[in-house]
Amino acid sequence: MTIREIQKILDAEVCCGEELLDREVHTACGSDLMSDVLAFVKDQAVLLTGLCNPQAIRTAEMMDIVCLVFVRSKVPTDTMIELARENDLVILSTKLAMFPSCGLLYENGLRGGSRI
């Protein structure tokens, strides 16, 4: 699935990374707990989170995550967008809550990451 498809499925706004929307996403993870995200290796993953702070961007950076989706209409600050741009990270913002967001992506074929 591409990031563009994710954007359409979640009816999300693109906060940054418009030029990277055709990148492929293989797995997904939904969590507000960054240490849980850091515990599992994911390949070209999208992270769905309600945690809208710089550490969500940092976590994505460390994990090589390609796309971050903020659920429940959360919008990143300029500092966060700058940090995301430095790391070629796409940020989307959807009005949907966490559960329906994950459900819709799962329904469309996206699956969770793998344990190492």
Partner: protein
């Protein structure tokens, strides 16, 4: 060890928004050096968790990173409160982090277990009232 590159970082305490800058810098340097991505990710995650711990628990600290052709060696030192029971601290889910840190996405008791999981060598020494030293190595 003439091929080793040594880098030192001061991790500022109490500024949670800046936690991760050192790990980010190392990650970029390793990428430029052409180190395998899987090893870079292991270094980045284990060091990032260490940085977060320093900010949450120890008012910051110092990280010394030594990059050799074979591995990355990380030494994390702080002069924080120390850990009374290391065995307990290493258990997944055990945390002494304050409630406000949990609201920031951390403090779930996964930091030290993640650091051990992602490093090929891991050791921790701590003395209450003196500080904590963590040593980690990731091989290429």
């Amino acid at each position: 060890m003439s091929d080793a590159i040594v880098l030192k970082y001061d991790v500022p305490g109490d500024d949670f928004t800046r936690a991760g800058e050192a790990s980010s810098d190392i990650k970029q340097k390793l990428r430029k050096m052409g180190i395998p991505p899987e090893a870079i990710r292991k270094v980045a995650i284990s060091m990032y968790e260490g940085e977060i711990n320093m900010v949450i628990h120890a008012h910051g600290g110092q990280i010394t990173v030594e990059i050799t052709p074979e591995d990355v060696d990380m030494l994390l030192e702080d002069h924080g409160p120390g850990i009374a029971d290391i065995e307990q601290a290493m258990q997944a889910g055990f945390s002494t982090a304050p409630e406000d840190v949990r609201g920031l996405g951390f403090g779930a008791g996964m930091g030290l277990p993640n650091m051990k999981k992602y490093s090929d060598e891991f050791s921790i020494e701590s003395e209450v009232g003196v500080g904590t030293t963590v040593h980690m190595k990731v091989r290429f």
